[in-house]
Subunit: 490 residues, 2 copies
Amino acid sequence: MIKSITESPLYRIINPRSIAIFGASNNFSRMGSIILSSVQALGYEGAIYPIHPTEKVVRGLKAYPTIADLPEIPDLAIIVLPTEIVCRTINECGRKGIRHAVVVSGGFRETGAEGARLQKELEAIADNYGMRFLGPNCLGVANPHLKFNPTPLRAEGPAGFVGLASQSGSFVTQMFNYLHRHGLGFSTALSVGNEANIDLVDCLQYLAVCPNTKVIAIYVEGISRGRQFVETAKEISLHKPIVALYVGGSEMGKRAGLSHTGSIAGPDELYEGVFRQCGIIRARSITELFDFALALGRLPRPQGNRVIVQTHSGGPGATAADACGTAGLVLPPLSPETVDKLRPLIPHTASTANPVDMTFSKNQADDFYKIPDLLLQEKDADMLMVYFVSPGVFIERLLNDSGMAPELARQETQKIIDELTNAFLSLRSLHHKPIVGYTYQSIDEGIIKKLLERGFPVYEDAERAARSLAALIRYYTMRDRRSRATRGSG
Amino acid sequence: MIKSITESPLYRIINPRSIAIFGASNNFSRMGSIILSSVQALGYEGAIYPIHPTEKVVRGLKAYPTIADLPEIPDLAIIVLPTEIVCRTINECGRKGIRHAVVVSGGFRETGAEGARLQKELEAIADNYGMRFLGPNCLGVANPHLKFNPTPLRAEGPAGFVGLASQSGSFVTQMFNYLHRHGLGFSTALSVGNEANIDLVDCLQYLAVCPNTKVIAIYVEGISRGRQFVETAKEISLHKPIVALYVGGSEMGKRAGLSHTGSIAGPDELYEGVFRQCGIIRARSITELFDFALALGRLPRPQGNRVIVQTHSGGPGATAADACGTAGLVLPPLSPETVDKLRPLIPHTASTANPVDMTFSKNQADDFYKIPDLLLQEKDADMLMVYFVSPGVFIERLLNDSGMAPELARQETQKIIDELTNAFLSLRSLHHKPIVGYTYQSIDEGIIKKLLERGFPVYEDAERAARSLAALIRYYTMRDRRSRATRGSG
C-alpha cells in the first residue's frame, strides 16, 4: 500500500501537467480527434501536444510531426493509433523520456494469439524504459477535478466522489450522464483495458489515498493478481467502502468477458467468497453499483437496521415495507411519545404504525419538515425512508384552480418547492441518521432533481432504496467485525 | 367467468354514461374537488352532476342539493365524503335508483373495529338495493380510453394496454407519469380499496375480456377469495398474461398491508405457489411489474430462450451477457453464415462472438438496420437485445466540429435520429422475434424517448431487459404446459 497518491504509477496518468496525443487530426470523426475534442471541451489547463506526421495544426493546436520534436517531455502520452504502429510509438515515447502512457488502441490480447504476442512486445518496450501505462484496449482515465477527460464522450455535471476502476471503458465515458442525473460524479475513473502494465490492484491503491474519492466502485470481469487484490482490498475497506460488480459469474458473462478484455473469470461462488473476505460490498447490476455508491458516499453511518418509512400513500408504503423486510431491515413501531407528537400533524385517517402513512397532506410544509423531524427524533429507529411525489404539479394546479395567472402560478410553485427542499435538507445536519427518498417520478425534474443535485439520495424504486440502505449497514457491520478481528490479532 | 365486459358489475363503473359526484365543491383543495378537476381535465364526455348542499355551481357545472333532485339516474355515484355520512349517502343513491358507486372515503375496516362495523352497514345498504361498488378507501377507476379519470392526479400520455387491479390507489393515480415515460399506459386501472363489494377477482374477470387490455397487472397485499382467485386467474392466463407484485410476503410487508387495506397476507411461499399454479408471472418490485407488462404487451412470442446481444461497448455487452445468464437465457454463438455476412459491416477489432461487440460504429446507419437485420435472421437465435447510447449527442458534436452552424446541426441531427429510429423500428414487422433495448441514458430524451413512444421496449439496465425477456419466456412456457395439460385431461 502507498501513503500518498504521488507514490502511485497512476499519479501522472491521472494528474498530468502536459500531454502528447497520437491519433488526433483534423478528421473530426477519428477516435483520437474525438478524445482531443473532449479534453478541450472540459477545459484541461495543461499543455496539449498533438503529434501528427503531416498536419501542422490540429483542432487549433500546434501539432508536431514526431514526439522527438516536442519542446518539453510531456507527463503523459495518449495513444489512439492503429495497432501495427503502437509498439513503435511507445518506443519513441520512451526514447523521448516520457514515463507514462494510456494506450487506447485495441487489437492485442483480446483478439487472440497474434494480439497477445504484440502485447508482450509492448510490455517489454515499456519495461525497458521504466514506463507505466494503462491499457491497451482501454479508454484510460477521467479526472473531472482536474478538468481532464480524454475519453470519447464529454464530461457532464460537477466532479464527484466515486472512484471507479473498470474493466470496461464504457462504464467510464458512457456514465457521465447517468451519474450526473443520479446525483453522482466521478472523483477519478479508470479504464484498465487489458491490464498489461497497470491493473485493478494499482487502481485500488491509488483510489484508497485519493482525497477526492469517498467510495470506490469496481467493475470486474476477472481478477488476475488474486492475492494482491485480496490484501489490498482488505486493507482499504477498513477505511473506505468498495462496491463491486462482477459479471464473470454466469457462463454467459464469463464468455463475454473473455472476448472483451481477455480476462479469465472464476465461478461466482469463488468471487462471492473473495468479496466477502475483503469487506467488498457486491452489487448485482450497474444500477446497483452506483445506487450503493450513492448511499455509501452520501449517508452517515447508521447505528442499526431499524427504518421508519414516511409516506402519504399506502401502496408505496407497503411496497417499501416489503422491500425493507426482504433486504433484512426492520420497521419498528413508533414509540408512544412520537405518536403523541405526530397526531396533531396528520389526518385522523392516517396510520401511525410504521410505515407512517399520512393518507394525504394536511400541510405540505409539515410533510417536509415537522413530520420527518419527529420521525428522525424517534429513539427506536436508525434511518428514515421517505416516499416522494413531487408536490409541484399539485401545488401549481391548486394555484391555477384558485384563479392565479399561469405564469405567476409557476413562479409561486417554484418558490414553494425551493422552500420545501431547503427545509427538508436542513434536517440532514440536525440528525445524524441516514435519510433516503424513493419515487416513481422522473428524476430529471421537479423536487426530485433538486434533491439529487443537492446530494440527497432519491431512488427510483422502494426496492433500490431498501437495498442501498442494507448495503450501507452491511459495509459498517463488516468493517466493525473486521476491525475487531484485526485489533484482536494485533 | 364472463364472456363480455357488459356482464361485469364493473362495466358501468368503468364505462359510465353519466356520473354524480359527492364531495366536490368550489373549495379547490378538497379531495372531491381535485377528483372532479381531473375528470374535467381529461375531457370526459358524459354528464357530470356535482351534489352539494349549498353551492349552486361547482367548477362551472350546475350542482344539485341532493341526489333526489337529479333530472336522470346517473350510471355511477362517486363518493368523497366524511366517513360519517357515507352510509346515508349510499342509501339515498340506492333510493334514487343508482346501481353503481365508487366509495373513495376512508375510515372503514382499515381503521379497526368501529370502522369494520360501519363497513358492514355500508355493505348491507348496497345489498338492499342490489348496488355494486368499489371501495371504500379506494381511488376507484381510471379508463383513459373513455377519457374518464376520477383520480386525484391528472392522466398523462395516451391510453394503453395495461389493465391494473390494485390494492393501492396510489399505483393507479401516481403511475400515469411513470407509465407514460416508460412507453406504457393503462387500458383500465382499478383501485379496489377494502374490497367490500367488488374485489380483485371481479377485476380480473373484467380485464380478461376487456378488449383494450393486453396484459393484466395486479398489486396484491392479500387475497380474500382464494379459491375463486385461483380458478379465475388459471383460466385467464391461458390467453392473457397476468403479472403480480405481492408485498405481504415479508413480515414488514404483511404488517404494512394490514394497516393499509386490512388485508390478511399469507407467507411468501404460499403466494409463490398460488401464482405458479395460476400461471401468473411474479414481479419483485413496482419497476418489475411494469417492466414485465411492457415486454408481455409489446413483444411477439419467442420461440426459445436464445438471445443475441448487440453492442458497441464491451462492458455493457458483458453485463448483458451476465444478466441473461443469471435470468436463465442463453447466448448462442453466431452461425458461420451470419459471421460472414457481418464481417464487412464491422471494424476488424469487433467481436463476432455473442455479444456482438462492434467496438465502435463503422456506419451508424448499419448499426440501426443492416446489423440488427442480420442478427434477427440468425436461425440459431430467438431474440435480440440491443445496447443503446443515443447517437444524437455524438452526431451533433461531429456536425458542429465539421463547421456546421449550431441550429442547423441540431436540425440535421434530429433528421438523422428520426431516420435511424424509423429504419430500426421497421425491423419489427420483418422479423417475428422479440427485440428489446437497454441503456443507461435518460429515457426522457433523444432516441430512447422516441423508441419508447413508438412502443419499443427500452430498459434502463441490462438486468431489467434480461429479466423481462425471461418473464416473457416464462409466461409462454407455463401457458403451453398448462394448455397441454388441459387438453390432455379434457
